[in-house]
């Protein structure tokens, strides 16, 4: 089945637009290009609204606006009715035309939002003989389910971001996809649930006969409810971990090549403090050296005088003048007074001559000899210290040089840090690092929580199993409940069969999807020699194996990852049996450069066997894409938003 025409009336940006998708013999490729805000994504929403009465891809700005086109809304007067309508005209392989038509009528008011008055959905079929049928309600809904069932629509009409994200999460929902494609919900909701209800009813009946049975049954129900809650929390934690992982990846992409600015700033602060300390120590060492030179330099400058004086003192010591044996002042007094100071007798004649002779021998006054004697030790000490000057100064110089070397090293590292951080908005980068660390904490906490909850789930399962065994035993003992027990056992056996059948179908579907994904991926990929296999394990974990034997899903490029997701999606189409179109909004936004060409080639190849409608932004529709798709496309349209931003027109490119 393919879409031939999409009609939009008063739907969001579109006042009155008909988009026709003509098919060429070899290809069924259709391209629409529009800036953000022109209504590109609302084409995807229009299809969803028509088929399923919802708009899952509304932007936050569109959410603020009514579904009714703004121009219609403003032109209408208070009390007027305006109708929103979307029609999807399709044709099947047996040439039956099926039109899906949804409309809603709104009354416009001056002082409030428009109010919906009526809504209607119908399907009009026209076979190749021209016989027409109009269907509504359940019959119309069944045709939607034949076109693209709601449960699996996300594999047919989706945003390209979905391809980018599909295999990045920790627990991509491969299992859910396989389940949905297998359409086992019927088996689960109608049969399995029904059987469980019957079993529950029978056990309750038995419980009325015996309070012990009732007690056990109620206890088991409680534990099952607990386990369901645990399972919900596990799912929640998986989601949290998955979201955290995505955020971490995004932040790591932003931070790739950017240094940890906060750590560098901390290092810088530490180094600045060290620099200040070293500078102080160096200045102190220099000052001490200068003081050394000052103090002892003084002595060195006077060294010749000091040596001369020391020699004079030593000579005088040798001659006996120092220390003086006689006090010359006493001798002089004796001569002056003419009296001996000691005995008081007059000095005359040869005694005077003798005293004069003694005086001449002494030569120096007692004060002078005392001064000389007192100076000797200090002079010797000063000279000794002065001789040590060169050695001590050298030690001081080495110490200063060591500090200067440390300062040089510190300053070099500071300059390096400054160079590293100068090109970045430090606050922004610091914030990114902080956020990344926070998300890593969240992911770790979520993983730990999952581990703890799984353990609890296991314990509860054991408890529930024990309670089930206990219940069986009690039912067996209660003779009045024998009939009920037999019915219950029969239902349980039927449940086992249903579950086994469900699992078998799931496994078979899984294998088929795995094989088809691999076939499509190898067919579409531009690196044919690199990959060995695509596997979807029984735990629904997808693995892509390199020819060298290792799993390389985590290390492939964005383009390759999207290609794998696209192959998986197309495999689901094939296995589901629904040969419906694929519509992708912004298919290559996350792919750059030459990879866009490669991915474009893959999309072109898909359109050889299936209708492909692609919605691009002008940035996406780069030379890499136009080179491979433009000539091949059957439809090339451009969306233009009016100046007053109330209506978009669609024109041929």
């Amino acid at each position: 089945m393919r879409i031939e025409k999409l009609s939009l009336r008063n739907y969001r940006q579109f006042r009155h637009e008909d988009i026709r998708f003509h098919k060429a013999p070899q290809t069924d490729l259709h391209i629409l290009i529009g800036e953000n805000g022109t209504g590109k994504t609302n084409i995807l929403n229009a299809i969803n609204w028509c088929l399923y009465a919802d708009e899952p891809h509304l932007s936050s700005s569109s959410r603020q606006l009514p579904i009714l086109n703004l121009q219609s809304y403003t032109e209408g007067r208070d009390g007027d009715n305006q109708t929103v309508a979307v029609e999807i005209w399709t044709r099947t392989q047996d040439n039956t035309r099926i039109a899906f038509k949804r409309q809603a009528t709104y009354t416009i008011y001056d002082d409030q939002e428009p109010i919906r008055r009526t809504k209607a959905f119908e399907v009009v079929t026209t076979d190749d003989k021209g016989n027409t049928k109009i269907l509504s309600e359940e019959d119309a809904a069944s045709y939607v389910a034949r076109f693209v069932p709601k449960k699996i629509r996300e594999f047919f009409f989706f945003d390209g971001e979905r391809l980018n994200q599909y295999f990045r999460g920790e627990n991509p929902n491969v299992r859910k996809a396989v389940f949905d494609i297998s359409q086992l919900d019927l088996l689960e909701s109608q049969v399995e649930r029904k059987l469980k209800t019957i079993v529950g009813g029978l056990e309750k009946q038995a419980g009325q006969l015996n309070p012990q049975i009732e007690q056990t049954r109620e206890e088991r129900a409680r534990q099952r409810a607990n386990r369901d809650e645990i399972r919900d929390r596990i799912r929640q934690a998986h989601t949290e971990a998955s979201l955290a992982k995505e955020q971490i990846q995004e932040l790591e992409n932003k931070l790739s090549g950017i240094p940890d600015v906060e750590a560098l700033e901390d290092e810088r602060k530490r180094l600045k403090a060290q620099e200040a300390t070293k500078q102080d120590l160096r200045d102190q060492a220099l000052h001490e050296k200068q003081l050394l030179l000052f103090k002892r330099g003084m002595v060195v400058m006077l060294s010749s005088a000091l040596e001369h004086t020391i020699r004079l003192i030593e000579d005088k010591e040798e001659s006996g003048e120092i220390p003086p044996r006689l006090d010359p002042d006493i001798l002089r007094r004796a001569l002056d007074d003419g009296l001996c100071v000691l005995c008081g007798q007059p000095i005359e004649g040869h005694a005077v001559t003798y005293v004069q002779h003694l005086l001449a021998q002494i030569g120096l006054s007692s004060d002078v000899t005392h001064r000389l004697a007192a100076a000797k030790a200090p002079l010797h000490q000063l000279i000794q210290d002065a001789k040590q000057l060169e050695q001590d100064a050298r030690r001081a110089t080495d110490s200063i040089r060591a500090f200067e070397q440390d300062l040089e090293d510190i300053r070099r590292r500071l300059a390096q840090i400054d160079r590293q951080v100068s090109n970045y908005d430090k606050e922004k980068v610091k914030n990114w690092y902080r956020m990344r660390n926070r998300y890593e904490e969240i992911r770790t906490e979520a993983q730990q929580q999952i581990g703890a909850l799984r353990q609890k789930e296991k314990e509860l399962t054991t408890k529930i199993d024990d309670l089930s065994k206990q219940l069986d035993k009690e039912l067996g003992k209660e003779t009045r409940a024998q009939g009920i027990k037999n019915q219950r056992d029969f239902c349980n056996k039927a449940l086992d069969v249903v579950r086994t059948t469900k699992n078998a179908i799931m496994q078979e579907t899984r294998k088929r999807i795995e094989q088809r994904t691999q076939d499509l991926f190898f067919d579409l990929t531009w690196k044919r020699e690199t990959f060995e296999s695509v596997d979807i394990g029984s735990d629904y974990q997808i693995a892509l194996t390199h020819t060298l034997g290792m799993d390389c899903l985590g290390s492939i490029s964005a383009a390759e990852r999207e290609l794998l997701a696209l192959s998986f999606t197309l495999a689901l189409h094939s296995v589901s049996g629904f040969n419906s179109p694929i519509l992708i909004d912004t298919p290559v936004a996350r792919i750059s450069g030459e990879h866009r060409s490669n991915f474009g080639q893959a999309l072109a190849q898909v359109s050889n066997s299936k209708q492909a409608i692609l919605l691009f932004t002008p940035d996406e529709y780069s030379e890499h894409i136009t080179r491979v798709l433009h000539a091949k496309a059957n439809t090339r349209l451009r969306l233009h938003l009016s100046k007053d931003e109330t209506v978009s027109n669609i024109k041929e490119l």
Partner: protein, 141 residues
């Protein structure tokens, strides 16, 4: 008893010179050390000059035995006789003359050099004196 003058004096014009080279040469030392350094520098360069206008600079009571020994040694070397030591006024005169000559030389040297380079040159010159004055730790005759 030898009479000792109560202070060592400088030329009044030298006060500004001492102040100007404070940071570069005297490193925050007191007047006593500044005077002795200028005196030693003047003796080293054999530059002594009579003071014109006396200004008290260092109180004699602040001189330590080592300081006194330095001043006495200078006077003894100048007069080549120990008996000069009995005339403290004369001893102080000799010290003051050399300090007066020395401070002017110091000032001129500092003005003619790059800021912060005085001790670099001084260290070099002093080591030359040491090496000349002492071979193997003994004074050269």
């Amino acid at each position: 008893m030898i009479e000792t003058p109560d202070r060592l004096s400088v030329d009044k014009n030298d006060l500004d010179l001492y102040a100007d080279i404070e940071q570069e040469v005297f490193l925050g030392k007191q007047n006593k050390d500044r005077f002795l350094f200028a005196m030693a520098f003047g003796f080293w360069h054999r530059a002594d000059e009579q003071i014109a206008r006396r200004e008290g600079f260092v109180r004699a009571e602040y001189l330590t035995p080592q300081d006194e020994a330095l001043i006495d040694a200078l006077a003894v070397a100048e007069e080549e006789s120990a008996s000069i030591l009995s005339n403290r006024r004369r001893v102080f005169d000799i010290a003051e003359r050399y300090a007066h000559g020395g401070i002017q030389l110091l000032y001129n040297q500092v003005q003619s050099e790059q800021l912060g380079s005085f001790y670099k040159a001084f260290e070099r010159d002093i080591f030359d004196v040491l090496r000349t004055q002492y071979h193997d730790g003994q004074p050269s005759k």
